[in-house]
């Protein structure tokens, strides 16, 4: 289908001059990472310019190339052989630049550039400033490498590389062990999903003989790849997506990942790396469509995730954790859209979410920078001290809550509408579940963001010292993102917005104006958000109840949420600790006492037997009492002496006998 797209959108099939060179966009940050890594320390605090230049150039190229695609130039696929094994395996190293890639490139380079700039303020004076920028560039390159991959194995390579960058950056403040533990947790949890991803690649590769994404999708569309193999393959790929995009039950790593510096959270854990899972499903969408119940599984997992995470966001005190759970919930929104077949809506939400969630994280970073605490209980009343952060944060919050006409409104509304359409017109059970979850989540989202805004910006300041607005290097990116949050939604205007044309998927018909979908549902969803904001205002500001209602009237719910549904405890207590200690100790015990016991026991027995045999052959040597004594004192102490005093002769004797026996045996037959 993407195949078809390339041909359809481009009658002349002429590639744009920029689109052909898009492989350079990942390469630039890789080079920047190498330069900063090796020479950064000699640049005297100016090393960030290397990264800014590399990513900035990438952004310019991404925008030009995207404009060329939109203007009718062809999508580009190019590759060369990475390695091959005779005719049994050929792995390519290639690029596949189409609209989906284009959207991701614009998102990744934009957010990365802003984060690079913002960090010059936020990370100023950090001990490992140089390393931070090297890792940031390395991440950006890896992410683009993942996105541009023309085959699943290359994508997997990028997938793991962003994972390890994430590990490094989460653990940036590794002097404190909770931070390095959070980094390990993130890596291991996602790796569990990645094993599934890798096996999914195997399944598809063995079924189709190729790693090529376009070809696999094409074969699925043609029906040559189908049945249970397609379903198993798709579901295994989805395992990887569940890990990376923090879906239930592997979502537990993302809140802990907030241990990393806040700009990292904005870039990696909100806007780019965590959407890789959504991107994977979108990339392989045709396969998923033709893979039996796979999309239903995606939809159900996403529905559960969005609710569970949104509820958790409601009880957090750490502002970054509020946003982290919000991210989990919004990623589920995107997944759910794909799950009900709303490809364009899902991708569009990925696009808009990147801007307003990055804005919120960078805003949170600005707050944390000012009050030196992540906790909202140390904030309050900050609108007076930090007007720019306040205004931009409110814009981001409204966008996330889905208030007209901000970015989140259009994308969220499209998902709700598509779920409703699938539910009402095709009466898919899963679509009904998605629709219901989406509505409830929309309500919860507006509620927790209201709570967060009130606790940070309203009331009295509860922290220490006098907070100040952040420097321009941090505020300017906030305003740029705020501008984007206000405007990018217009690209996806129903009926007329160009986004759907760009992303245009054959088979997904563009709907004309419809009162139900374009007036009633949007009004209803905005109404729900407004109601939630009003409720939040009453609960958290006017009546100052904080979450007391929950914690007193529904104490068990509150406890359940506070303990994150006990999932972390179950994983830690049920898997990690048992493996780490008792199981490992048991394995090692068997190693030392059983396996090695047999070895040492055999040695003892051999010594004993040897003494007997040798005694028969030659009495004299037995008289050397050393042997007997050492044999009894055991293997560890005496054997070296043994070697020197006769054991080697004994070995030789054995060898001779054995060889003679063998010669006799085989020589005669």
């Amino acid at each position: 289908m993407i195949f078809a797209l390339a041909e359809e959108a481009t009658p002349g099939t002429v590639a744009g001059f920029a689109t052909e060179y898009m492989w350079a966009v990942p390469l630039l940050p890789f080079l920047a990472a190498v330069i900063i890594g090796f020479f950064g320390r000699k640049m005297g605090g100016k090393e960030h310019y290397v990264g800014i230049f590399a990513v900035g150039a990438g952004l310019v190229m991404s925008l030009i190339a995207f404009a060329q695609l939109a203007g009718g130039n062809a999508a580009v696929e190019a590759s060369y052989t990475w390695f091959r094994l005779d005719d049994s395996l050929e792995l390519e190293f290639g690029m596949n630049y189409d609209f989906l890639t284009g959207v991701m490139f614009v998102v990744v380079t934009t957010i990365s550039l802003l984060v690079h700039i913002y960090s010059t303020g936020y990370m100023h004076g950090d001990k490992r400033y140089t390393w931070f920028y090297a890792a940031l560039s390395l991440f950006t390159g890896s992410m683009l490498f993942l996105v541009i991959a023309n085959n699943l194995m290359q994508m997997f390579v990028g997938w793991e590389l962003v994972g390890v960058c994430s590990y490094f950056l989460i653990g940036h403040y590794w002097e404190e062990s909770p931070n390095s533990s959070a980094a390990i947790k993130a890596f291991i949890t996602t790796r569990i999903g990645d094993v599934g991803f890798l096996f999914g690649i195997f399944v598809l590769f063995v079924a189709t003989g190729t790693f090529d994404i376009i070809e696999i999708n094409h074969l699925a569309e043609e029906g040559e790849l189908g049945g249970s193999i397609a379903t198993i393959g798709a579901l295994l790929l989805f395992c990887g997506a569940v890990g990376k995009s923090a879906q239930v039950p592997l979502h537990v790593w993302l809140p802990d990942a907030m241990a990393g510096p806040t700009p990292v959270s904005a870039l990696i854990h909100a806007a780019t790396m965590v959407v890789a899972g959504v991107y994977l499903v979108a990339r392989m969408f045709i396969l998923f469509e033709h893979a039996g119940a796979a999309l239903n599984v995606v939809a159900i997992v996403a529905s559960i995730t969005m609710l569970i995470a949104a509820a958790l966001a409601l009880v957090q005190d750490d502002i970054k954790r509020v946003l982290a759970y919000s991210t989990v919930s919004q990623l589920a929104y995107m997944m759910a859209a794909l799950g009900v077949g709303a490809y364009t809506a899902g991708v569009f939400h990925l696009f808009t979410h990147a801007f307003f969630k990055a804005l919120l994280f960078l805003g949170a970073g600005s707050l944390i920078h000012a009050v030196h605490s992540n906790n909202m209980s140390d904030m309050g009343g900050l609108r007076k001290y930090m007007p720019h952060t306040f205004k931009t944060f409110i814009i981001g919050s409204l966008a996330l809550a889905g208030i007209f006409p901000l970015a989140g409104f259009f994308s969220k509304d499209e998902i709700v509408g598509e779920a409703f359409r699938a539910a009402s017109e095709e009466t898919q059970i899963t679509a009904i579940i998605v629709f219901a979850s989406a509505i409830i989540t929309a309500f919860l989202t507006a509620l927790y963001m209201t709570r967060a805004c009130i606790k940070t910006f309203f009331g009295e300041y509860r922290g220490h010292g006098t907070p100040h607005e952040s420097p321009p290097s941090m505020v300017v990116p906030l305003w740029i993102l705020a501008g984007a949050s206000l405007s990018v939604g217009l690209l996806g205007l129903p009926v007329v917005g160009p986004f759907a044309d760009w992303i245009n998927v054959p088979g997904e018909t563009r709907h004309g104006f419809d009162t139900l979908y374009n007036i009633v549902l949007p009004l209803a969803s905005v109404g729900i958000a407004v109601a939630a904001i009003w409720l939040g205002w009453v609960l958290f500001y006017k009546e100052r109840r904080q979450v007391d209602i929950l914690s007193t009237r529904f104490a068990w719910v509150y406890r359940l949420l506070e303990n994150k549904y006990y999932l972390d405890d179950i994983y830690m207590g049920g898997i990690v600790r048992p493996v780490q200690y008792p199981l490992a100790a048991f394995a090692y015990w068997t190693n030392q006492h059983i396996l090695d016991g047999i070895v040492n026991g055999t040695a003892h027995a051999t010594v004993g037997a040897g003494q007997g045999v040798y005694g028969v052959i030659d009495q004299q040597v037995v008289d050397a009492g050393v042997n007997g004594a050492a044999g009894l004192t055991g293997f560890s102490g005496g054997l070296l002496r043994y070697i020197q005093t006769g054991n080697v002769q004994r070995y030789a004797a054995f060898l001779f006998i054995a060889i003679a026996a063998f010669v006799a045996l085989f020589g005669l037959t």
Binding site: F83, E160, L198, F202, F205, Q580, Y581, A584, A658
Partner: protein, 505 residues
């Protein structure tokens, strides 16, 4: 330079031996001269090896090349038959490189009790044995090179080793010797069936005795090779040998000697006894996956850094053996890649463990910490090697594991697909466990606070220039093999195709 095409291989193998002879005339007190001799001869061997590698015809990497086949011991039909193909070449070059780097490392530090000359002589002898094993095409020749390796390593552990060196040395020697006996019996059985010790001729003959005889012969070879690898449950000599061995002993052991076992499977057992190989493959596969998981679990229980790395070798060699067990193009290529990767990465890790011991005078993980703070470069190299070891794509560790697992998803003809898919899942679980203990180790050693005991930083200097010299080639190759896997696979694939012809492939 035509002569390189014939006697080049032998020259590279025996140059270190010439070095040993030269060392005989060097007084024991002249450490500097001994080091220079060591450097000269390992360096010369490496240069010859590279030159031979450059003359190797990569277009037909499948065939045995650069052959010499001369009369040697006519009484028992043993010939001096050497040659190299795409399977052996990477291992041959790896041995030459690592031996040279070990001598470079000795320039920086000679372990107690000194005796530099003796240590260098043993290293040279070891090099001849190791490189010879990879080019021998005659079973007796192979056996001699194989056994030559034992003696220097025995003395290396026994003299320059840690507190339990005597136990470890004897255990290493006897255990591998025990295996060698069975291997030798296997060789003799082959001789009596095929009337030749020539590997190539034996392979071409095929049909070496009844199924029972073939299986018994394979079992003998299996025991010899499996102990060397070492495969679970024959691995218990390895942690002791590694823990007690001096740094360069551990490096050579991990980087090269373990590969002699896996190489034996691919070079001798598989092509000559293909039916028996298929018969035993499920057992090998099961033992391999047990090794992967068991090795990883044991790593969690270790308190000594070096012992931990030793157990990690058990797991990593498990992936190699899993690849071999699949009897498939992908699996065996993956296995050879895995051997090279493990040689580079684990060799590097043992260098690091040794250098940690030199600085902190302990390898107890619980008493280390914050290495990245006090020695940022050293710490970074440690993190890099650790991350490589857990199989991160882009570094060398990934491709071997990936191909071995892919091989088990679709094993070679005649093997039970269901069983091997279960093994694949086991291997997958192993990769998660591997990541777990390695990251945990990195956290405890490299990250966190500096322990009070070392807070003054006395004696803690960052990577020494000679250490850089010894390590840089390994670090670079780890990256190069990760980015450009064709570097290895392009050489091995032809030879693996050739091997698979024995299996009707």
């Amino acid at each position: 330079m035509e002569w390189l095409d014939t006697w080049g291989l032998s020259l590279a193998v025996f140059l270190p031996m010439v070095g040993v002879v030269v060392l005989l005339f060097v007084p024991g007190s002249m450490d500097g001269v001994a080091k220079a001799v060591g450097l000269l001869f390992t360096g010369a061997a490496l240069l010859v090896g590279v030159a031979v590698g450059l003359r190797f015809d990569y277009g037909s990497a499948g065939a045995i090349k650069l052959e010499v086949n001369e009369r040697w011991i006519p009484q028992i039909d043993a010939r001096y038959h050497v040659g190299i193909d795409g399977i052996a070449l990477p291992l041959f070059e790896l041995s030459l490189l690592v031996s040279f780097l070990c001598i470079v490392y000795l320039l920086w530090h000679v372990p107690s009790p000194g005796k530099t000359k003796a240590l260098i002589a043993l290293t040279l002898l070891l090099e001849t044995g190791m490189t010879g094993t990879f080019i021998a095409l005659d079973l007796i020749l192979f056996f001699i090179f194989w056994e030559v390796v034992l003696v220097p390593m025995y003395f290396m552990i026994g003299i320059w080793g840690g507190p339990r060196r005597e136990y470890a040395a004897v255990k290493f020697f006897l255990y591998t010797l025990f295996g060698s006996i069975f291997m030798l019996l296997g060789f003799l059985a082959l001789y009596f069936q095929g009337n030749t010790f020539d590997m190539i001729a034996l392979r071409e003959q095929g049909n070496l005795g009844s199924t029972l005889v073939q299986n018994l012969t394979f079992a003998g070879l299996f025991l010899g090779f499996a102990i060397k690898v070492p495969m679970w449950p024959f691995h218990t000599w390895l942690p002791d040998a590694h823990t007690e061995a001096p740094t360069i002993g551990s490096v050579l052991l991990a980087a090269v000697m373990l590969k002699m076992g896996t190489y034996g499977f691919i070079r001798i057992a598989y092509p000559i006894l293909p039916d028996a190989a298929v018969y035993f493959a499920p057992v090998i596969g099961i033992l391999a996956v047990i090794a992967i998981i068991y090795g990883a679990l044991c790593c969690f229980a270790q308190s000594d850094l070096k012992r931990l790395i030793a157990f990690s070798s058990v797991g990593h060699m498990g992936f190699v053996m899993l690849g071999i067990a699949t009897v498939s193009d992908r699996g065996i290529n993956g296995a050879i890649f895995g051997m090279v990767a493990h040689g580079l990465i684990t060799g590097m890790l043992f260098f690091l463990a040794g250098s940690i011991h030199e600085r902190f005078h302990t390898r107890e993980i619980s008493s280390l910490g914050g290495v990245l703070q006090q020695m940022p470069r050293f710490g970074s190299v440690l993190v890099y090697a650790g991350i490589a070891s857990l199989g991160l794509p882009g570094l060398a560790g990934f491709w071997g594991e990936m191909l071995a697992l892919l091989g088990s998803y679709q094993p070679g003809a005649g093997l039970d697909e269901g069983l091997f898919r279960i093994l694949m899942v086991g291997g997958g679980i192993g990769t998660v466990l591997t990541a777990g203990y390695l990251l945990w180790t990195i956290q405890r050693v490299a990250m966190g606070a500096v322990p009070e005991k070392f807070a003054d930083g006395r004696g803690l200097f960052d990577v020494h220039p000679l250490e850089w010299t010894a390590w840089a080639p390994l670090l670079a190759l780890i990256l190069a093999a990760g980015i450009y896997p064709r570097m290895v696979l392009g050489v091995t694939d032809g030879a693996v195709q050739n091997l698979l012809k024995s299996f009707g492939g």
